[in-house]
Structures are given as C-alpha cells and as structure tokens.
Amino acid sequence: MKYTPLIGLEVHVELNTLSKMFCSCPADHFGKEPNTQTCPVCLGLPGALPVPNKKAIENCIKIGLSLNCTINKLSKFDRKQYFYPDLSKGYQISQYDQPFCSDGFVVLESGKKIRIERVHQEEDTGKLQHTILNGKKVSLVDFNRSGVPLVEIVSRPDMESSGEAKEYLKKIHGLIRALGVSSADMEKGQMRLEPTVNVKIEDDHGIHYTPLVEIKNINSFNFAVQAIEYEVKRQLDEFSRTAIEKSATNKTTRGYDSVKKTTFLQRTKEEAKDYRYFPEPDIPPFALNDTYIDELRNTLPLLPDQIIAALIAEGVEPKYAKVLCDNKDSYIAYNHNKEKEGIDRAKLASLIANKKIDIGKDIPAQYQKLTQSGITDRQMLEKVVAQILAENPSVVADYKKGKTGVLGFFVGQAMKNTNGQANPQIISKLFLDLLSGS
C-alpha cells in the first residue's frame, strides 16, 4: 500500500493599510477598545455603502504579481451571503468568479512548483467572544475588525508532506513581509492558515482518495505541521476501517487542538453552504490595463528569492545569503560595507550571519580585528610596494610583456617584507595601480 498526502493551503493575510477595505475607519484594530473603530459602512447600518480602498487592491495585485499570477483584466467584487453575528451586513464582500489574480506558483527548494489557484480580495468580519452573562451563555461582538482588508491566497493541493507545507508557508510569509503589505504577525492573526488535507491511497484495489478535511484554528507553522501529520494518520486509519472515499458532499471541517495535538470534528453541516454569490451591485467592476499592471510591477521591491540569488552571485555562500535576506538590518549592514576597502564579501557575509560582528558597532573595525587583515596603512604599504618594484626591474619588465602572473611574486614579496601583516587585497591593488601607471 502506498499513500500520498495531498495538501492545499488557504492563507488569509490582513493588510496593513491605514484605512479599512470599504470605509475610512482605521484598519489597525489590535488591542483597541471594542466598537470604537466603526462607521455606518463597516457596522452595516441601513443605507450604508462600500467604496473600495485603492491601496488595498494594489497590495492584492502586488501579492499576485510576486506569486507569478496572471492579473485579470476584468474583475469585480461579489457578495458572499450567510448569517452570523460577526458579519454585520449578512454578507461578506469578496470575489467569486473574477478575482484580481489567478494561476500563479511558488517554487520550493527542491525545485517543485506549488500552483496557486487564486489571490483575491475580501473584507474581514468582526470578532466574537464567548462568555456567560447573568447565567446565560452569550457571545460578545466587536466590529473594530469588521471591514479590515484581507487577501486570500489559495494554493492547489500540490503539497505532499507537512515539510512542503511548512516551506510553502514560510515562503509566503517572507514574501508578504518583503512586500511590506502586512506584518504577517501570526499571533495577532495577521496571517491565518487553513490546510485542506486528504490522502491518495494506492493499493491492490486501485487508487482511492479519502474525504477532504479543512482544518481551522491554526496560528503557527509548527501547529500546521502537527495538524497535518495528525490528520494524515487519522485519515489513513479511518479509511482502513471504513473505506469511505472523497465525494462532492463529504468534505468536513475540523478544528485543531494545540494541547492534545489532535484535530476534532466541528459541527457537520447537513447540507453544503449555499452562499448565493452574486455580483456586488454597489461597486462597479474593474478594468485594468497592462500599463497600470506594469506600473505596479515596477513598484515591487526585490523579493527574497531575487535577493538571495543576487547575494550568491556576488560570492556569498547560500546559507548565509538566506540569513541576510531574512534579516533586514543585517542585509543593510552587509550592503553598506561590502564595497569598503579591505573587505571580502563572502567573509563579511559569514561574519554578520554568524553574529560574530555586532552590526550596531563599527563594522570595518570589527572585520579587521576578526580577519586579522593586518596592516592597511596605505602610505606605509605604498612605500613597500614601490620599494619592491624598484628592486625587481626585470620582473616588472616581464609583467609589462604580458606575464601578469608575476603579480603573485610581487604580493609574496610584500607579504614577506611585512611579515605577513600586510593586507593582501590592498597590496594587490597597489601593485596593479603602479604597474599600470608607469
């Protein structure tokens, strides 16, 4: 019997725009007093109307571009209708059949492509809190979060292990942060994950697929890994007992218990949810042209993969390139100092990445000390170089005839002269300058 987990991931990203998706309330809601950041629009009062936030839409498109998506020339918002106390209008404005972005991909270390089905825009709901008031079970609703812009990234079920899922999530996370469109702080709920898991089983009777399970309430990559691993085992076990296969109507939702490290069934719906999607009549559609999309593309900062590639190209070891990329301050420190006199890029990168250098203090000085790059006093070294050239006229003549390899001889002489203390790069450069000059 052979089995392959099939994992898809739905990631919701809370954007860091100043205002909400469809109104001008502040979007930064974390830790605020309840219901102090609402207006008729996000509170769903009678007569209120949505007006879309341009920056939020551009951020959604940027996310799509960085995920190699096609940006759809025609798109629109749709109403997704259901009743829930935290959904003030009784519908969520989202995107259904014409999202801003579709058909993208992300490439894992192994070279495997994880396809992205769509990247679309929607608004967040309010927050529910359960408590007991006057002996009755109640829920308390806060609408500060209602209407905050969200971007939903939906992958195809191309991941086949919890490891691949984790790598995918880390890539998405890094990308979001590099774009600067969200802090993606998972503890604050700014990046939310929902894996959908099932298993492909190949046995003597053929190929079978277990029913799809969507797992909610996961707020860390490690929890996602644990939940996925538990769920795969559980599904294999269930299949071996029941042989129930995936159908159009048996998808279920399970919650994740981080203490027990298990998933548990949430209320199964008797019938599939009918969201009665229809085009949002209060918001005209979008027609985007190539010029606009290209303009947005040009505003994209260098993305992690591009940064790492560039670092490797200039001599930095891949493992250090990754570390520098992940830490903005380290990356800046490296860039600031890599061109300086006497500094070798690869060495600098490794010292910063290994934290041998305190980037808050004088970096070249620390570098010198650590690499014992010796004498860098130009005036003194110039004297040494001039002296060696003067003492070796025939070698100079050889060099001039084209025997450039003799440079090594000259550098060796200088090192001997300075008891190995001279900085070889500087010496080299000085020789070259003088040799080309005379």
Partner: protein, 473 residues
Amino acid sequence: MKDLHTLTIDEVHAGYRNGDFTCTDLVRHLLNRIEKYNPKLNIFLRLNPEVLDQAARIDREIKEKGINRPLLGIPFAIKDNFLTVGIETTASSNILKGFMPQYESSVTQKLLDAGAIFLGKTNMDSFAHGSSTETSDFGPTLNPWNIEYLPGGSSGGSAAAIAAGLATAALGSETAGSIRQPAAWCGVTGFKPTYGRAGRYGCIAMASSTDSPGPIARSVYDCAKILEVIAGQDKFDATTSPKPTDKYSACSGQGSLAGMKIGLIKEYLLPEMRDDVKKLIYDSADKLSSLGAQVEEVSLMDPKYSIGVYTVIQRSEVSSNLARFDGIRFGHERDRFNDENKRRIMLGTYTLSAGYYDAYYKKALAVRTKIINEFADLYKSYDALIGAVSPGPALKVGASKDQPMFGEMQDMLLEASSVAGLTSASVPCGFVDGLPIGLQITCDQFQEMKALSIAHCFQKNTDFVKFPDLNSL
C-alpha cells in the same frame, strides 16, 4: 394673497424677501394643516421635533443674509427611508421602530446644506415593498383626491403631502415607479433622475442597482430646483456618476418643442387600459405635437417581460440588502418583517440560490441588456419616449391585499426604464372619475435637462396641475 401651502419654491422665497411672511409663519401654517388633515390621511409618520427651532434660526439667517442658499426655508416632507439624524427613521417598518440614525443620508444632507427645513418623515410601503403605501406597518396613506383610494407607492406619503398641501416640496425615491407612480396617482409632479445621478448613501437600500432618490413637488420647475441641489457625485456612493450636473432650473427656458422627436410607446397603451385613460395619453401626444415636437408611435419589448426582469433583480437584491436587519446592532428581530417583506426576501433568496441563479438572476440580467439596447437604439432617433405612468388611475384601499405581485404589476410601464437606469418625469395629464392620470416623459441616461424641459413646456401649456379641496374630508 395666495394660501401659503399653495406656493411654489420661488413664491416662498419672494414672500420671504418681501417680508410677507416668515419661515416660522409658513411652517406653522403647514403644521396646522398637518394637525387637521394628517390623522385622516396618514401622510406623515412623525414630525421633526426641532422644526420650529430650526425655522426660527432660518428666519434669523434670512434677516441677516437674505436668501443666500437655494432651498433656504423651504419646508420638505422626507420619505421615511432616508436616514435623518434627530428624526426617527423606520422605512415604515416595525423592524426599525425607534431607530434613531447615527448618520445623515447624503441627499438629505445636501438639502440641509441648501437651507431646507424638514417638517417630518412620510409614510411609504414598508422597505419600499409596494406601489400602494398599503404595505406600510403603520397603516396606508389615503389619496387626498378620494380617501377611498390609495396614493400609490412606495413614495405615497411624499406624493400625498404635496397633493394635500402639507409641504412645499418632498423627497422620494424610485426603484421602479416609486416616485412616478404615486406622483401620477396623486396628481402631482415627480422626477426620477438617472441611476447614479443622486447619491444613495443613507437611503435604506431596496434594489441597489436601480434605487434613485428624486423630488416630488408642485411643478416641474420646482423638481428641477431640487434636483440641482441633490444631483452630483457622492464620494460615499461608488455608483454615482462623475458626469457634471446641469443648472436644471434652466429647463423653464424651453419655449417650444420644435426640433424634438418624441416616441409614443405603442405597447404601453395596454389592451386592458381604459379608453378614457388612453385618450388622455393620445391627447398629451397631440399637445406635444402642437408645441412643435414630431410625435410618432414606437415599439418596445412587451412590458410583461419587464415585470419578470424587475421582479427577479429587485427581489434578489432586496433579499441581500435586508440581511443586515438581524436585531443585533439596531432594530428588532426579523420576525417583525411583514408578509410582503417576507415574500420578497424569500423569492429573492430563491432566485439567487444554488441551482437557480443561472435560470433566474443571470437570465434577468441578460434580458436587462436587451432592454437597455432597445432603449439605446430608440434614443438614437428620439429625444424622449412617452406613455402612461400607470395602467389606470389610483386603486381602492385594499386592492393590494394578498396580491403577491401587486407592486410589480402596477409598475409594468415603469420597470423597463428603471432597470435601464433612465431618467423620467411624471406629470399630470388629466383626470378620469375624479382621479388624476400621469404622463411619463422618459429620456436617455443623464438627459435630465431634456426630460425636464419637455415636461416643463408641456406643463406650462396645459392646465392639469390641480389640487384637491380637502374640506370635504
């Protein structure tokens, strides 16, 4: 001197300027009439508690600055689906009983900024679900021409307020007929602007893709003056147009209709329409002809299809727009919706539901395209299209009971132009059995000036603008 309640906007301003009367005088006069006639007619649901204070402030302003705002001191009746801060707003529904809005609608804010004063909120079909004002949870409004009859709807209260002389001007809204039809049944002038010409922010939504706030008043000219104030892009309503507005009161400059080509819609002369009503429509066509227009019969899609299109679009959007009424943040529980509300919500839920969306909603939207294209073709050759507003005169109280499609049937001559977002004037064109009949003058999108000009010319050269004698009540 003329009775204060019979004055037009300009006449009121002239009176203020001449010192003939003050705003407080006018408001008191109207309040007295409301006190006398409202208990019977049930036009106003409630009055503005601050109206006299506001009138006093306006009088001070007039004294100090003169008439420096376009609607300064003009007393308005406001349909109860517009959110007005300080005045309870219910859309004539028990679900919103006691609702004190936390914000002002865009259009009423514009009226206030122009100096208008609100007398109170007028009765309507609850949530605008009707064409009679009979689905109001607070009793029907009665037609000031004959109290055995309905005023039409859903802006029945606003239209009746003008007919009964209980306000100088009124604000209504039209989803499909809700301004034009009550104006016709009450013998007053109503104007439906192009969809997106006036902002819907703060107007309790019925059908988001057709709702249009608009004026109901004593004359076309007064409607134009009000339109000047309420028209324009609304930054809180993404469906309003950035197209510049006009000085619509210039419509009064239209002396003759020479050069205009007008189409009389053949299919709107319904087989079941009374001969005396048809005659009034033909007479109106002749009148327009005599004013210089070239009038010809034109053909449009059978109105029965408009009923289907409008019913699906409206009820689908209604079902969604009323989802927010869950009693959590405002209002009462959903069991306070009345039968008509529930019917419409449920039908709309059905037409949007899985398995039926394509057959109903999508289909309706496609037929809508055909309707739009048909109008577009006609407007290449014609400046305006005319026809009756309503299949007949006002119907008796009780006519709408247990008629699941009453509203949509009554509005069949108005639904096509509504779903196409066109602009249209409803002007009185005669009487049958002592009840008024209205003529619609419908123009292409954003041709408000044209519609108003033709309507004004017609009105100026006819004598159909009359008001009932309420002493018989």
